[in-house]
């Protein structure tokens, strides 16, 4: 063991200990007194304390053994659980068993190290990370290597290899083009964000039961979570649903502020709006029937239903798209057409 008690004189070249004069100088700083004197532990001086520490460490390891055994009890005696409370008990006992098994070992070893292993602080000197001699040697080697390749003298080789190496990885980037498994062209990728399943005459049905909704079912203050009829028969129902979900509400037609061109988009105050937040796409599903506010639970964008779902708070940048609806001959609610603008979050090509 190295004990470099002597190496603590970095304060200044001369340490006479006389009172320093004013002004900067080597005696402007205090002298390093060196490592404090070593204080002995109880176990270093008292054999009984040493013995006690030894027993404590052993007991900790025994606790660990008991912990491991209790893990097996939890695993095999409780066995395959048939109720939530049995599962909870098993999980708790597995946790306790593992915790005791691990903490017993860990605390035991550390206690051992702290009380019984030598606790002298030792000083070790640092070495230069790079010596000047090494640097010169390395610089020479690199210089020789470059010289031997002759790359500096042969610019033709240098330029062509740079070109080749720069080009070679580019195919690896283009390889990823088919990450889109649909085989869509660039134009189709953009276009499909613009359209949903809704179309003229598509029935509004309840989510998830798929039953159609009569206009008379929708009372003021109620809200229906709606999907287009036939959703489950599509090839990718979740993809379609992610764009087509709609929230259906009814409010007093007197409270509605309708902009020109949308006069016939509602039916007796029954309105349908896209449920997908125009911010980043969470379902805006929280409808407050007294204030007529729609709130997105993810980022708190708030839309005012009486103002055609205009943004009145939060991070969304434009109103929720409205789905024009009407009733069919049997009184069921149907769409007049698809949405007239893309639903969901904005994107570069949205315009």
């Amino acid at each position: 063991m190295r004990d470099n008690m002597g190496d603590h004189s970095h304060g200044g070249p001369n340490d006479t200990g006389t009172v320093a004069k004013a002004g900067p100088g080597p005696l402007d700083t205090f002298q390093d007194p060196g490592l404090p004197p070593h204080r002995k532990r109880l176990a270093d001086t008292d054999p009984r304390a040493e013995k006690r520490a030894e027993r404590q460490v052993a007991w900790l390891f025994v606790i660990s053994i008991i912990g491991t055994l209790s893990f097996f009890i939890a695993y095999f005696v409780i066995g395959r659980t048939d109720s939530i409370s049995a599962l909870r008990t098993q999980n708790m006992l597995l946790g306790l068993g593992t915790a005791f098994a691990m903490l017993g070992i860990g605390v035991g070893i550390v206690h051992w190290a702290k009380t019984l292993m030598p606790d002298h602080e030792v000083s070790e000197s640092r070495h230069e990370i790079r010596t000047e001699a090494d640097r010169q040697d390395a610089a020479k080697i690199i210089g020789d290597v470059i010289e031997e390749t002759g790359i500096k003298r042969r610019p033709l080789i240098r330029n062509t290899i740079i070109g080749a190496i720069a080009l070679a990885p580019i195919p690896a980037i283009f390889m990823f083009r088919d990450l889109d498994r649909t085989g869509a062209t660039a134009g189709q990728i953009v276009d499909r964000l613009r359209y949903t399943m809704w179309d003229k005459g598509v029935k509004l049905v309840r989510d998830p039961s798929g039953t159609p909704i009569k206009a008379s079912d929708v009372q003021i203050g109620s809200t229906f979570h709606v999907i287009p009829e036939g959703l489950s028969e599509t090839e990718h129902p979740l993809n379609e649903k992610a764009k087509a979900v709609v929230l259906l509400m009814r409010l007093d037609p007197g409270k509605m502020n309708i902009s020109p061109g949308r006069e016939d988009w509602h039916y007796n105050g029954i309105v349908a709006y896209s449920k997908i937040c125009t911010h980043v796409g969470c379902p805006v599903a929280l409808y407050e029937q007294q204030t007529h506010h729609l709130l997105c639970p993810c980022h708190q964008s708030t839309f005012d239903l009486t103002q055609e779902c205009k943004v009145i708070f939060g991070p969304a940048g434009h109103a929720l798209p409205q789905l024009p609806i009407t009733v069919d001959s049997e009184g069921f609610l149907v769409a007049q057409s698809d949405f007239t603008e893309p639903v969901g979050p904005s994107y570069w090509e949205r315009g």
């Binding site: 205090f30 708790m92 597995l94 691990m102 030792v122 940048g317």
Partner: protein, 556 residues
């Protein structure tokens, strides 16, 4: 290589060790590491917590892969959790439920995995804060600081890719938010979204892709970075706090064998034990509550895991509209209009660029401003670097405001305040908080430094009140011993380095800027006590009080 005096091991262990040694040169390694010195301080342990939780993650994660199926094919749940029986869901979600309810100890392993993931990122973060506030990133450790920063980002990536795997409603909505943010990217967003999800959101590809990233690419990169990180720790040797006997040229601490190895090794079991205890008693990510992912439902309190919270919070804080002005800019081009979705791009990118950019650049910024090219192995106590500490706290406040914003709805319900008011306040704090944090922290640091000076010059308050014969009360002050005193006076206190002219006597604009920054950094400064000042203070208090214990009036 043959030698004249061939070594013959006596015991069986010795023979095995010798066999290995002759083939891989173990003796050199033992010589190098066997007695290597590591300084001991509790704040040095967070890196180990990070490493150990990562090991726990590898162990528990491997267990989980044996039972998890990353398929997004539709199935009907037939496992033993009654409230979901018969529900249509993806195979990934069903297999996560099976791990929880039908694999013995599976729920425990899931909870171990998730709790240690949270602890992993937390300990990486705290470790980086410790390194920052103590100045351990200075020369020669700048590159290791960068590796650490990369590790922080990788740990976020590991966390996020894992969070989404069970394909439950919570993580599915999280993925949808990611999709929304990706789509906001100008020019490429729509295509990146299509490539990521294999078509339209949610598609059937994303879970499998994230799974591959989560169990292979990201952990492999983390392992690589950890190896580089530890290699550099060995090259640099560990830093140490200032104190008697500790210099820039030595390391004071315990040798690896046996004390340090025992403590560090034992600590792995302790961390594992703590994670196991938490996992036994506290539910994490109850996927059975959330239900399978479906684009229509959403749960109140939809939040990411804590380490992504700050980005989510930034998204919440950004107003989308100011009156009738929308942050969605529609830019007319000859070929049609394009949309620049600033209400998503600004909060998603700017805070991250500012925070991570400053974090990576800070060692170079400080080196440039101080013109300090020396190696630093002695750490700064945070109070002794007031500007840096204040910048760090400003960053922490900035982060925490966004972090708090991610739970604005829960703050509202639990403190019975309005959700909107919480957002307004946090919007103000987003700008004011870092400034206030900076000013207050710098003042506190300077005040603590003055207190240190006071203690060195006048001694420590002993807590003993004495009455003088005249009836006055005073508190006894005890002088410090030289070791304690050294701890308070031995620190570097950089001074302002004004702009310096170059060789031809010209002061460049960059140099002027540096000079101004240097003034900003170090103008307010409390210098360490010099021996002369101490002698003067003792003389001032008169005669033998130097050794005997000083008296100072209360309120002095």
């Amino acid at each position: 290589m043959s030698t004249a005096t061939e070594f013959q091991a006596k015991t069986r262990t010795g023979r095995i060790a010798d066999f290995v040694d002759q083939r891989v040169g173990g003796s050199t390694m033992v010589k190098e590491f066997g007695r290597k010195i590591f300084p001991d301080h509790w704040s040095f342990m967070f890196g180990e917590v990070a490493l150990y939780t990562f090991v726990i993650l590898l162990i528990s994660g491997t267990f989980l892969t044996f039972f998890f199926d990353p398929s997004m094919a539709e199935t009907h749940y037939a496992g033993s959790y009654n409230p979901l029986r018969g529900v249509e869901m993806s195979v990934a979600y069903a297999s996560s439920l099976d791990i929880s309810f039908d694999v013995r100890g599976g729920l425990f392993m899931r909870q171990v995995h998730h709790w240690s993931a949270l602890l992993f990122v937390a300990s990486v973060s705290v470790h980086m804060l410790r390194v920052f506030f103590t100045g351990a990133f200075r020369k020669p450790r700048e590159l290791n600081w960068v590796v650490g920063g990369v590790l922080l980002i990788l740990s976020l990536a590991a966390g996020f890719t894992g969070y989404s795997l069970p394909d439950d409603l919570l993580s599915g909505n999280g993925l949808r938010i990611i999709d929304g943010v990706v789509k906001a990217l100008p020019l490429v967003g729509t295509y990146i979204s299509a490539f990521l999800f294999g078509g339209e959101f949610p598609g059937t590809a994303i879970i499998g892709r994230l799974y591959m990233l989560h169990i292979m690419l990201v952990p492999a990169l983390i392992l690589l970075m950890v190896a580089m990180h530890l290699f550099m720790v060995v090259v640099h040797k560990h830093t140490q706090y200032p104190g008697p006997g500790r210099t820039e040229d030595n390391v004071v601490g315990f040798p690896v064998g046996p004390v340090y190895a025992a403590k560090a090794g034992g600590f792995f079991f302790i961390v594992f034990g703590v994670v196991a205890l938490i996992s036994g008693f506290f539910t994490i990510n109850p996927i059975w509550n959330y239900g399978p992912y479906d684009p229509s439902p959403v749960s109140a309190g939809t939040q990411p895991d804590w380490y992504i919270g700050w980005v989510d919070g930034a998204l919440r804080l950004m107003p989308g509209m100011l009156g009738n002005f929308s942050f969605e800019w529609i830019i007319p081009f000859p070929w049609g209009a394009n949309t620049l979705v600033l209400n998503v791009l600004l909060p998603a990118l700017v805070p991250a660029i500012v925070l991570l950019g400053l974090m990576f650049a800070w060692p170079w910024i400080e080196r440039w401003v101080t013109r300090d090219d020396r190696e630093h192995h002695i750490l700064d106590r945070p109070r002794n670097a007031p500007f840096r500490t204040a910048v760090g706290v400003a960053g922490v406040v900035f982060y925490s405001v966004m972090w708090a914003a991610a739970s604005s709805d829960l703050v509202a319900t639990h403190f019975l305040v309005s959700l909107n008011d919480v957002t307004y306040w946090l919007r103000a704090l987003f700008f004011l908080g870092p400034v206030i944090g900076f000013i207050v922290t710098r003042r506190i640091c300077l005040a603590l430094q003055r207190k240190d000076r006071d203690i060195v010059l006048h001694g420590r308050e002993a807590g003993i009140i004495e009455m003088s014969p005249e009836g006055g009360f005073s508190e006894r002050h005890e002088p410090l011993d030289e070791y304690k005193r050294y701890r308070l006076v031995a620190f570097d206190s950089p001074d302002v380095v004004p702009a310096q002219p170059d060789a031809v006597g010209h002061i460049s604009r960059a140099e002027k800027r540096r000079g101004a920054l240097s003034r900003l950094f170090f103008e307010d400064r409390v210098a360490p006590v010099t021996p002369e000042e101490l002698a003067e203070a003792h003389a001032h208090h008169g005669h033998a009080a130097v050794e005997g214990g000083e008296k100072a009036q209360i309120g002095h």
